[in-house]
């Protein structure tokens, strides 16, 4: 078992390596890329939520002076040909391609239909208005329950419901059904003294990263395609573009520029293949930028959902059974995060009897994309509100009931596997002991709420290379794009191994030809898995350095030790040399040292969070103000505590936005009517108090330093915590997200 021991570098707060470039405006993001002869691309998007494309005429656009090329789905390789080759996966390829440029149908307003490259962005925009597209408009399906009705209009004629490998006979908007069953739920509910069953509705919300999507592509005459872009994963871009363009990965180089936020939303590709098509057609580098409305309407948000939760408990607070029904909107193509939602919904609890059903349902909205702990926040809004209601009915403190039922090592999750070492109890206990929770909470219309949340975290592949410099520093080469300070948290792990300072590491995020395969910056995996790879690469360096020291001293390698940045010989000859001094002697002892580490670790270690929030409700207007917010989270081991706090604070605030105001507002035609930062209403700093981030450290046995991912779980509890606080304030249970002022007024019976 790992202990929380003293480290030299880990747990300190050095200045991040990319910091100066980012505070001086010198850091280059995707849209900052410049090239001689650069053309500017613009995408034409569907004005309809559901329509068949009957014709596209690009001739007027092509005739506009300054226009250098126009592309449509016809310029993409025919995905239909791939059906035979790829079996069931071929369906995905068609969906993938159709989401880049619609071929036969548009399935949401904002769906890309064509694109133009021109000498400046204004001309490209004007040219888009000259592309004549004829549509046969179809009735849109805009809500998950409506989409599941047997007579609902179908988005895809050939889509049939699959249930773990079994496919239904009739076409449907329901793409898949999943189920988890543990114990005997009927028996469990029979044992309960109190049973609460509630229905919940959540809206479509966007990640809301400040930097719009961007891509610049260029084809060399030898067919080498280079793409400069902001992305959460350069290798993932390479794979997706290769699939969509049917082009070998070895001919594609993806250069990750700095990235202005992602939260899961910059994994799927949208305009990158389009930039490539335009570059091929024009023979010039082409930069395609989205504007803010494009981002809202044309990229993946996280789904709206309908959730029913039923839980039962005995009078002493033991939860005996739980049941959940989750129907998630996948958007235009299958692939909502209902799976993880279903797996996370009761994860903070040890419940013997559980049944969970989940449905992935297509609707005429943008295809959903991951967003921070995808699926789990929707699910937790339901379950954590019901737990609160049970606690209230039984007269038990809401944190106490969580402790009574808390999941711990050895308990079986509802989806089957047994929990390894987890920190659920520790987060609840820390919240309970926090001065926030023990502070008085008595003012009229003020309320306090709590909620817990769980997210798996994930491992996947990472590669790191370390080049040792003669001055005792190292250059650390990695493939994980840095969205929130991971250059620092990865570098610090290598520094810890080698006994050098964080500042002695020069981390670089490089392109797909310059480092081994590395999966996306997502799934809360970067500090965990790429940090693990850095640890391994540093161990490799250490091993090689020991060989050099042995050579220098003419002793056996087994007699060389390394500790606290010093190599020393044992068993006889007394020799010592610092890491730095040995670095200066690499040439004479055998040449340069390059260390490498690659991992695909399975022990990501799930993370728990428990949040406490105080709100004030204006009973006349329905407005909710956040007065105080405390977020407790198990980080396993916080490598750079400042950036761990930052993840917790940022996730909590995105949750606050989701809870109170954020949603896609649609009209009857399926048009999003608030596709701007003005009307989408993300929190500004004036809407918030300081966010007290409390780090609990229950080391993860699956990582050499005990790291657990921290990025995602903080967005899981806020919605339920705030709903519970609103109930505490005014006695009204909110079951719909966002809990916007008009919904509160309605729930209070004021309008």
């Amino acid at each position: 078992m790992l202990e929380n021991k003293d480290y030299k570098v880990i747990g300190t707060r050095p200045i991040r390596h990319d910091g100066v470039d980012k505070v001086t405006g010198r850091a280059l993001y995707g849209a900052d890329f410049q090239a001689a002869g650069l053309l500017h691309g613009r995408v034409l998007r569907s004005p309809h939520a559901h329509a068949r494309i009957t014709s596209i005429d690009t001739s007027r656009a092509e005739a506009l002076p300054g226009v250098k090329g126009v592309v449509t789905a016809k310029d993409l390789p025919d995905a239909g040909d791939k059906v035979a080759d790829l079996g069931e996966g071929a369906v995905n390829l068609k969906h993938l391609c159709d989401n880049i440029l619609a071929s036969d149908k548009v399935l949401y307003k904002g769906h890309a239909v064509a694109a133009v490259a021109a000498t400046n962005p204004h001309i490209a925009e004007e040219a888009c208005t000259l592309i004549d597209v004829e549509y046969e408009v179809l009735p849109p399906v805009l809500e998950v329950r409506q989409a599941m009705e047997p007579d609902a209009p179908l988005l895809h004629e050939h889509l049939k419901t699959t249930s773990l490998g079994e496919t239904a006979d009739e076409p449907s908007n329901v793409a898949s059904h999943i189920q988890h069953k543990l114990g005997d739920p009927e028996k469990g509910f029979a044992e309960a003294d109190v049973i609460i069953e509630r229905e919940f509705v959540t809206g479509t919300v966007h990640q809301g990263y400040i930097e719009p999507h961007n891509a610049t592509a260029h084809y060399n005459q030898d067919g080498q395609l280079t793409i400069w872009c902001s992305t959460q994963g350069a290798f993932t871009v390479r794979e997706q573009v290769a699939e969509i363009l049917q082009y070998p990965i070895s001919k594609i180089k993806v250069v990750p520029m700095e990235i202005g936020g992602g939260f899961g939303g910059k994994i799927s590709v949208y305009i990158k293949p389009v930039a490539a098509l335009l570059a091929k057609k024009t023979g010039k580098p082409v930069k395609v930028l989205m504007n803010r409305a494009d981002v809202f309407e044309g990229t993946g948000p996280t789904p709206a959902s309908f959730i029913r939760v039923k839980m039962g408990a005995t009078n002493d607070g033991k939860i005996t059974a739980a049941e959940a029904y989750l129907a998630f909107e996948a958007g235009a193509y299958p692939g909502s995060p209902v799976g993880p939602g279903a797996m996370c919904i009761f994860a903070p609890y040890n419940i013997e009897n559980v049944i969970i059903d989940g449905y992935d349902v297509v609707v005429n909205k943008p295809k959903t994309a991951p967003y921070r702990a995808p699926g789990a926040p929707n699910a937790a809004f339901g379950s954590e509100t019901v737990v609160d209601e049970i606690a209230e009915k039984l007269g038990i403190d809401p944190l106490e009931i969580r402790l009574l039922n808390a999941a711990k090592e050895g308990d079986r999750r509802a989806d089957g596997p047994v929990h390894p070492r987890i920190g659920c109890i520790e987060t609840v206990e820390a919240a309970k002991a926090h001065p926030h929770y023990t502070a008085p909470n008595g003012k009229k219309h003020h309320g306090r709420g709590v909620a817990s949340g769980y997210w798996f975290n994930i491992g996947l592949e990472s590669s790191v290379t370390i080049n040792v410099n003669s001055d005792g520093t190292i250059n650390l080469i990695e493939g994980s794009t840095d969205i929130g300070g991971t250059r620092a948290s990865i570098a610090m792990q290598a520094a810890e191994v080698l006994g050098i300072s964080a500042e002695s590491v020069n981390p670089s995020v490089v392109d797909t030809e310059s480092v081994g395969y590395t999966a996306v910056t997502g799934g809360s995996r970067t500090t965990y898995a790429t940090g693990y790879a850095a640890y391994e690469a540093a161990q490799d360096v250490k091993r090689q350095m020991i060989v050099r020291a042995a050579k220098l001293w003419e002793v056996d390698e087994a007699n060389v030790q390394f500790a606290d940045g010093e190599f020393s010989s044992i068993n006889g000859k007394e020799e010592q040399i610092s890491f730095r001094d040995l670095c200066a002697r690499l040439g004479e002892t055998g040449g340069p040292i390059v260390g490498s580490g690659t991992v695909n670790p399975g022990g990501a270690g799930g993370a728990y969070a428990t949040h406490v929030v105080d709100v004030a409700v204006d009973e006349e207007t329905g407005k909710v103000d956040i007065l105080r917010y405390t977020a407790v989270q198990d980080a396993g081991k916080a490598i750079h505590p400042s950036y761990v706090e930052g993840q917790i604070q940022g996730g909590a605030v995105q949750g606050i936005g989701w809870a109170l105001n954020e949603e896609y507002i649609y009209n009857a035609e399926g048009e999003m009517t608030n596709a701007s930062f003005l009307d989408y209403r993300m929190p500004t700093c004036l809407d918030l108090p300081m966010i007290d981030a409390v780090i609990v450290e229950v080391p993860n046995p699956g990582h050499p330093y005990g790291v657990r991912g921290v990025g995602e779980v903080p967005i899981v509890p806020p919605m339920a915590a705030i709903a519970n606080a609103i109930y505490d304030a005014i006695g009204v249970r909110m079951t719909e997200l966002p809990m916007s002022p008009d919904r509160l007024l309605k729930a209070m019976g004021k309008i």
């Binding site: 079996g87 069931e88 996966g89 995905n92 993938l96 249930s163 773990l164 490998g165 079994e166 059904h177 999943i178 189920q179 988890h180 069953k181 959460q232 994963g233 993932t236 794979e239 997706q240 899961g264 994994i267 799927s268 692939g335 995060p337 799976g339 993880p340 279903a342 797996m343 049944i355 991951p370 921070r372 702990a373 995808p374 699926g375 989806d415 089957g416 596997p417 047994v418 929990h419 390894p420 997210w455 798996f456 975290n457 994930i458 491992g459 996947l460 999966a519 996306v520 910056t521 997502g522 799934g523 809360s524 995996r525 695909n600 399975g602 022990g603 990501a604 699956g702 990025g711 995602e712």
Partner: protein
């Protein structure tokens, strides 16, 4: 022998049995032996000698690389679950 937890949606193939003990030292062997006892099982779990896209394999509570080549202990507990979307792109 390894124990395989049968997902509820596959229990129609196992006459409702929730877990099955089968011999095998790799996931591939375990699945092949399951198939022998419960025909149709392999088609629900695999595609062309690979775990189906969208499925994840857990061994003793830990997420594996999702490979049928994964070795399993004599007392391993095996789960087949939906793959986590966790910020991760659609399965290949």
């Amino acid at each position: 022998m390894p124990i395989v937890a049968i997902p509820s949606l596959l229990r129609n193939l196992t006459n409702g049995k929730e877990s099955i003990t089968v011999p095998g030292t790799t996931i591939r062997e375990v699945i092949d032996n399951l198939e022998t006892r419960y025909p149709g099982m392999k088609a629900r779990l695999c595609e062309d000698d690979r775990i189906k896209p969208g499925l994840a394999v857990y061994v003793n509570g830990l997420l594996t690389r999702g490979s049928i080549l994964e070795s399993v202990d004599a007392d391993a507990e095996i789960h087949f679950l939906p793959a986590i979307g966790g910020g991760i792109a659609a399965p290949k």
